[in-house]
């Protein structure tokens, strides 16, 4: 009996539930129809359908969410091409779906709220550490390394590992959360910069003469003698390029996946000790002693952009994550914020208490300013003017380097006295994308991600100011068209190669005649082409400039009708 029941049950249950669903839906629609038409009259079929459709409509997505995922303006209303319109609809749908996924993000950003009448500037690190949970409190720590300082620092892309490099040759790599060391070595010579490569397995160190690459056990893998006297390094993770700027004013891009130098050329602007990467388009920004900032791609020996930011020598430079803002500081104690998309500004001009020797943007566009041995963090300082610092912290000796840890509310400060890890609530991106960079990745995941990243390595030729240019239609600009026309106007008639097929007539009168005829014909054609262009131009001029009749015009030759 039991078994029989078991056999029968599944289909029966299924059938019943199906019927239930249909009946339920019917009932719902009827109820809805009643609501729509509350005077009790029966509605025609169309209305029922409408009511049903209304019920199935999804909650609309907030406009600011859509704006966050938007990739630019849509089609203009003049477009009637059905294919394009369908495509447009698909794109809009994709944007909406992407915006809808925000509901699945689990973490919220950090914050710091103080009582009325108080200022968050006065809140000390100790106070913050005391009022957060023990795990977060352990992220605030100091390393006293006074012997080999000042220290340059670098976090890996997933924010898990930290690399310290003291000026006097001390290198230490460790997992800064668990404080588990990877290696600690001394290269026994002067050291200018340290930089992780694409993952925590390798790092580059700019030493006294050359750049060296070590693995995470401190074993020297490569000595790059083509990169010498390097002062600053940066890594372009999607292109696998190690960018270096040197004391003798050379800028170089080294492809670390092939070990090949992609480009290396002189900048001719003196010591290049201020460099930052624009993460939005992978261009390099260099700061110069003339107060200018230049942007470089490996494809052009001229700067893509040259902007005069200050009238004094530049001190520091930072670009925020979405490439919208650039912060620059100069020796006149000013810090300016620039709009990098429009290339104008300054949006903000701040006058600091001291010379800002270090600048750093966090994931959520908080700006850390290092002045002497004081770190100040500013919030909402780009689009709006910040009137006071969000946080302030003092370290023992002058600051040499600062970096916000990706995906954490942490600011790492390297100074003459060692390393300080500061808690800055609200600095880090709360929700990471595991396929992009994952702080919790295992060895296997790291290996897979490395292979994927290498497969999708972007070629250095694609580094441009506008990264979306590759998806646009290549329309020759008006300028190019004009240049082509101009070249025709000013050029000479094309020369023709007149070598006769047979040598029999060589030097004969007939051959010379033929040559002359052909040459003249080409010249004539050319002159006609130029005439056509100039007459077109003239017509335009005449139609544009209708002069008012003046008294002296009566002496002009009369117009032919």
């Amino acid at each position: 009996m039991q078994e029989e029941n078991n056999c029968i049950r599944p289909p029966r249950r299924f059938k019943r539930s199906k019927v239930n669903v249909i009946e339920k839906a019917k009932r719902e629609v009827e109820e809805l129809a009643k609501v729509v038409c509350d005077n009790g009259e029966s509605l025609p079929y169309g209305h029922l359908k409408w009511a049903r459709a209304k019920q199935e409509e999804r909650v609309p997505v907030a406009k600011e969410k859509l704006a966050r995922h938007n990739r630019g303006e849509g089609l203009s209303e003049a477009v009637t091409n059905t294919k394009l319109l369908t495509k447009e609809k698909e794109i809009e749908y994709a944007i909406e779906q992407a915006a809808r996924t925000e509901i699945l993000l689990t973490e919220d950003a950090g914050f710091l709220e103080v009582d009325e009448g108080e200022s968050s500037t006065q809140v000390t690190q100790k106070q913050i550490a005391n009022s957060v949970d023990i795990l977060s409190a352990s992220k605030h720590f100091q390393l006293f390394l006074e012997e080999f300082g000042p220290y340059r620092i670098n976090y890996t892309r997933n924010g898990r590992y930290l690399l310290l490099g003291g000026r006097k040759g001390h290198i230490a790599a460790f997992d800064w959360i668990t404080k588990k060391p990877l290696c600690e070595i001394n290269v026994m010579e002067e050291l200018f910069d340290v930089q992780w490569l694409h993952n925590e397995l390798m790092f580059a160190v700019a030493q006294k003469r050359w750049v060296y690459i070590y693995d995470n056990q401190g074993v020297e893998l490569h000595c790059l003698k083509t990169l010498h006297n390097v002062l600053r390094m940066d890594f372009l993770p999607y292109h696998f390029l190690l960018a270096c700027s040197s004391a003798n004013s050379f800028l170089s891009w080294l492809d670390v996946s092939l070990g090949k130098m992609v480009a290396q050329f002189p900048i001719r602007q003196g010591r290049l000790n201020i460099m930052a990467q624009n993460p939005y388009n992978a261009c390099l920004c260099l700061g110069h002693a003339q107060g200018t900032v230049t942007m470089w791609s490996p494809n052009m020996k001229e700067p893509l952009v040259k902007m005069l930011c200050h009238n004094r020598p530049l001190q520091a430079l930072a670009v925020n994550r979405n490439g919208m803002y650039m912060a620059t500081s100069a020796v006149d104690r000013s810090v300016r914020i620039w709009d990098l998309r429009q290339l104008n500004g300054p949006l903000q001009d701040y006058r600091m208490a001291g010379i800002a020797s270090n600048l750093s943007f966090s994931d959520r566009s908080l700006l850390a300013v290092g002045m002497g041995n004081i770190v100040e963090v500013y919030r909402d300082c780009c689009a709006t003017t910040a009137d006071h610092a969000y946080l302030r912290h003092k370290v023992n000796r002058s600051i040499a380097d600062m970096q916000f840890c990706p995906y954490e509310d942490i600011l790492g400060v390297g100074s003459g006295s060692g390393f300080t890890s500061m808690i800055v609530p609200g600095a880090g991106e709360p929700n990471f994308d595991a396929l992009e960079s994952n702080p919790y990745q295992t060895k296997r995941q790291r290996q897979e991600a490395e292979v994927k990243a290498l497969l999708e390595k972007i070629q250095p030729e694609l580094i441009t100011l506008d990264p979306y240019a590759i998806g646009e239609v290549n329309v020759p600009t008006l300028k190019e068209k004009m240049a082509a026309k101009h070249a025709l106007m000013l050029g000479k008639p094309p020369e023709i190669d007149f070598t006769p097929r047979r040598n029999k007539r060589k030097g004969s009168v007939r051959a010379a005649k033929a040559k002359k005829i052909v040459k003249e014909r080409v010249k004539k054609d050319y002159i006609e082409a130029v005439k056509a262009i100039s007459s077109e131009k003239k017509d335009n001029d005449q139609s544009n400039q209708e002069k008012p009749y003046s008294v002296l015009d009566r002496f002009l030759p009369k117009k032919k009708k």
Partner: protein
């Protein structure tokens, strides 16, 4: 003072056991995914390269015929069964999954000229050089009885056969177009329009009463079997070898022409072709449509088969092997996945319809990845580098040379026409005739 600092619980981001799958939290914010354009482009480039890497269209070779293959018959209901006829009058039944010949019998003396299954799949009709139409049983596949169920004798030579989609009638061609009923021994209708030999005949799959045939005097004739017979006739500049109706669009058909081209026509306007499909470098001998009606396959005397989209002038793909000789017949399988080709050197070859498609069931992730790369390929299709890789095909030397020679000939013709026009008396220039109208000489009602 209220403080909140980011503090993630590792348990939410790490998998619980080693057998578990990895947790992959996603955040689709564009800020976390910089350089979208160049990265997509790189992926598209990889996708197109991989497509070419995986483009291995040859599935298998069915050998068993003792002479060149002349024609195919596609079973209307069973995907695995295909019949083929050969020059020596033998008909083979092939089981495609196992790539074996399951049945063979001597059907005719001389060539087998045409094969067609009865729409319900219960019989196979064959015509041969011996002026007979034979009906064969398809039920008892392994029966040793190799006698036809029925033999009809025609007075004239037969060169092709086609069966009506719904009614019990079929048509043969030869000296005239004959209409037969299955229950009768002699033709019920004879259609003639002053030609000596008809080469091919085919029924429309949608407008089932329309019949199309091509003749050796370069003409193509349209019949209506409900009516008195021939409806329209038009003459092309060279002979048409094979015809095929589009199975989805009732008015469209494609013909394989002797002048190296295929022409797609709309019955409503026969003065100009809808599209001229070039690329073959020798006479096109056979053509067959995909069941979707969007593509067709053609075989040629130049030892290659090509796949065309109906609205494109150039072929999507070319298939060839070292050993394949002149292609005499092609067929597109009814599941839209495979293409069959029969050629002079006694072999039937099975090809994939899409060269780089993976066969067999796909896992959902695999399917998603393939869909994604297909979308990328489409999005970046017009970028020069991607276009170049997508278009590039390695072709045999003889085709390469012939292609070069043809291009020289064609440019010469164009140049000559331009010169003639240039030097003609003003007002007396010959009119410009577009490529699509060039090959149609005359249309008769």
């Amino acid at each position: 003072m209220r403080v909140k600092v980011l503090c993630r619980n590792p348990d939410e981001y790490l998998r619980e056991t080693k057998r578990d799958i990895f947790k992959v939290p996603r955040n689709y914010s564009p800020e976390l995914h910089p350089l979208e354009g160049p990265r997509e482009y790189t992926r598209a480039l990889n996708a197109i390269k991989l497509e070419r890497v995986f483009a291995k269209p040859f599935v298998g070779n069915l050998d068993g015929h003792r002479e060149g293959v002349t024609c195919f018959g596609k079973h209307p209901e069973r995907l695995s069964l295909v019949s083929s006829g050969s020059y020596d009058g033998e008909v083979c039944f092939w089981d495609l999954p196992s790539q074996t010949c399951v049945r063979r019998f001597q059907a005719h003396s001389g060539f087998v000229r045409g094969l067609t299954f009865v729409p319900d799949g219960n019989g196979l009709l064959s015509v041969g050089d011996d002026k007979t139409v034979k009906t064969w049983n398809t039920d008892s596949l392994f029966d040793s009885n190799e006698e036809p169920i029925e033999t009809r004798i025609s007075k004239t030579v037969l060169t092709g056969i086609t069966h009506h989609q719904k009614k019990d009638i079929f048509a043969t061609c030869g000296e005239a177009c004959l209409l037969w009923e299955e229950t009768r021994n002699s033709p019920i209708q004879v259609y003639e329009w002053g030609v000596d030999t008809l080469l091919d005949v085919t029924f429309n799959a949608v407008e089932t009463d329309l019949l199309l045939s091509c003749a050796s005097d370069r003409s193509i004739i349209i019949y209506d079997v409900r009516d008195c017979g021939p409806v329209k006739k038009f003459v092309m500049s060279l002979r048409t070898n094979k015809l095929c109706w589009n199975p989805m669009e009732a008015t469209v058909f494609t013909c394989a022409n002797e002048d190296y081209n295929l022409y797609t026509f709309d019955v409503r306007n026969l003065r100009s072709a809808v599209q001229v499909h070039k690329n073959h470098v020798s006479a096109v001998t056979c053509v067959d449509y995909a069941p979707t009606g969007r593509e067709f396959v053609s075989g040629s005397f130049d030892k290659s088969i090509r796949i065309f989209e109906i609205d494109k002038a150039n072929s999507r793909d070319i298939y060839h092997t070292k050993r394949m000789q002149h292609v005499t017949s092609v067929a597109w399988s009814l599941d839209n996945k495979y293409v069959l080709s029969g050629s002079d050197e006694m072999n039937v070859r099975v090809w994939k319809a899409r060269a780089s498609e993976k066969l067999g069931a796909l896992r959902p992730r695999e399917k998603n990845a393939l869909n994604y790369s297909a979308a990328l390929r489409e999005k970046y299709a017009s970028h020069p580098q991607i276009k170049r890789i997508a278009r590039h095909r390695q072709v045999p030397k003889h085709i390469q040379h012939a292609k070069k020679e043809l291009s020289v000939i064609r440019t010469k013709l164009v140049r000559k026409e331009i010169n003639r026009r240039k030097h003609a008396k003003p007002g007396a220039e010959e009119p410009y005739v577009p490529e699509r109208k060039k090959s149609v000489i005359d249309v008769q009602q």
